[in-house]
Structures are given as structure tokens and as C-alpha cells.
């Protein structure tokens, strides 16, 4: 398991000094049906885009707070890593995007009846957002509403 002490000093300092927003103890959700009937979506911060979608923009001050909808039918091999962060190794994701956007695995689980279905729409964000207010006020509620409309039961959050 990577520990903070293993990371480069500059990244460690950023992570240590950053004012993290704590979610705290809220009224958390519970599954309303058995897993075998649940619809599952992915929400990843690996900055993946579909062919033809605009890449994320690393020059946005405070971080690019936009998001992309990844179609549930999209071929995983066609996804493009547009996250420019040097804080992590991109080689694995470039070889197999399932590493951060495991649509193929969800399809297998649905085919095996372990989950009910793969959601029709999934969410891609770019991480490294240091000023999250626009994300919290604009992008995130909008993106969450898409999943509610699609009657999603479970979201796997995959930060990188």
C-alpha cells in the first residue's frame, strides 16, 4: 500500500497542507434491493474521455471541474487518458483502461448475474482539483442527477 511518506516531497506537502473537505457522518444510503438486481455505474477521476470528446484542460486554474459522460456501451480500449498529472504512473491505464474505468468487468458481472445491470451512463472527472467549489456547486449535482435519472443503485468511485 502506498504511504504518504513514499511520495515525492512536493506532492506530500500539497496533500498535507491541503484543506480537505470532510464528508463526516451523514445519512448514508442503503441498498434497496439485492446486489443481483442493482444497476452499477463507475465514477472515475482518471480523466478518461471517449474519442471525439474534448480532453480535460490542465490550464484551468484550480483544476478542470468539467465532466464527461461515458456511454455504457463504449469499448474500453477506445477510452483516452487525458489526465496530465505527473503524480502517478499512467502506463498501466494506457495499457488497459479497465484499471481505472472497469466497464468490461461490470459487463462480466452483469452477464454472470452478480449485479443486475451496467448503467447506461458513467462519469469521468479529472482529479487534481484544488479549488472544488465549482465542482461541488455545478458539475457534481448535475452529474449525480444523470445517475438518479438512470435509476443507478451503486456507484464505484475510482480515484487515481
Amino acid at each position: 500500500m502506498p504511504r504518504l511518506s513514499d511520495l515525492p516531497l512536493s506532492l506530500r506537502a500539497t496533500l498535507k497542507l491541503y484543506r480537505w473537505r470532510r464528508l463526516g457522518n451523514r445519512a448514508w444510503a442503503r441498498l434497496a434491493r439485492p446486489l443481483g438486481e442493482c444497476r452499477v455505474a463507475i465514477c472515475s477521476t482518471a480523466g478518461m474521455v471517449e474519442p471525439g470528446q474534448p480532453p480535460y484542460d490542465s490550464s484551468v486554474k484550480g483544476g478542470d471541474f468539467s465532466y464527461r459522460v461515458i456511454d455504457g456501451e463504449t469499448a474500453v480500449a477506445s477510452l483516452i487518458d487525458s489526465h496530465r498529472s505527473a503524480a502517478y504512473d499512467h502506463a498501466g491505464i494506457e495499457r488497459d483502461a479497465n484499471l481505472a474505468f472497469p466497464l468490461d468487468r461490470l459487463r462480466e458481472l452483469a452477464a454472470a448475474g452478480r449485479i443486475g445491470s451496467v448503467a447506461p451512463r458513467h462519469l469521468s472527472f479529472m482529479g487534481s482539483i484544488t479549488a472544488p467549489n465549482r465542482l461541488l456547486r455545478r458539475s457534481a449535482p448535475e452529474a449525480a442527477a444523470l445517475l438518479v435519472a438512470d435509476q443507478v443503485d451503486i456507484v464505484l468511485l475510482v480515484p487515481v
Binding site: P2, A27, I154
Partner: protein
Amino acid sequence: MLEERGIVTCSITALPEITAKVAPPRTLAVPYPLGYPLGAPGDPGLQSRIIEAALTLCEGEPATEPVAFVA
């Protein structure tokens, strides 16, 4: 954002020390480098086991303590 709309979530994280600062309701801590949240490229078996572990957490009660994934 999702949980208050009735959607159950599980975070798959390689840096539980940082995820703990945010304190989401379900955290699966994976022993892999940053950039490798589902273990290894081209290893569908391992990727599936990690997802299975995350789904199992979704079936259970929320807890702010991370649960370690053991390969």
C-alpha cells in the same frame, strides 16, 4: 452528493490516509501504486476480485474506517 440521493457508493483507494480525511461511507483500500486502483493492467481476475470486494462493502453498513483489500 450521490448518497444523499439514495445511491450507495464505495471508494477504491490506494491512499487511505488521504481518503480518511474526506471520510466517505465505504472505502476499500488497495495495496497498489497510484495509477493502479484495480491492481494490474490485463489482469481481469484481480480487477474482478477488487470490484467484488467493493460491491460486498456496498451491501453492508456504512463505515468511515477503510477496509483493506487482500489479494
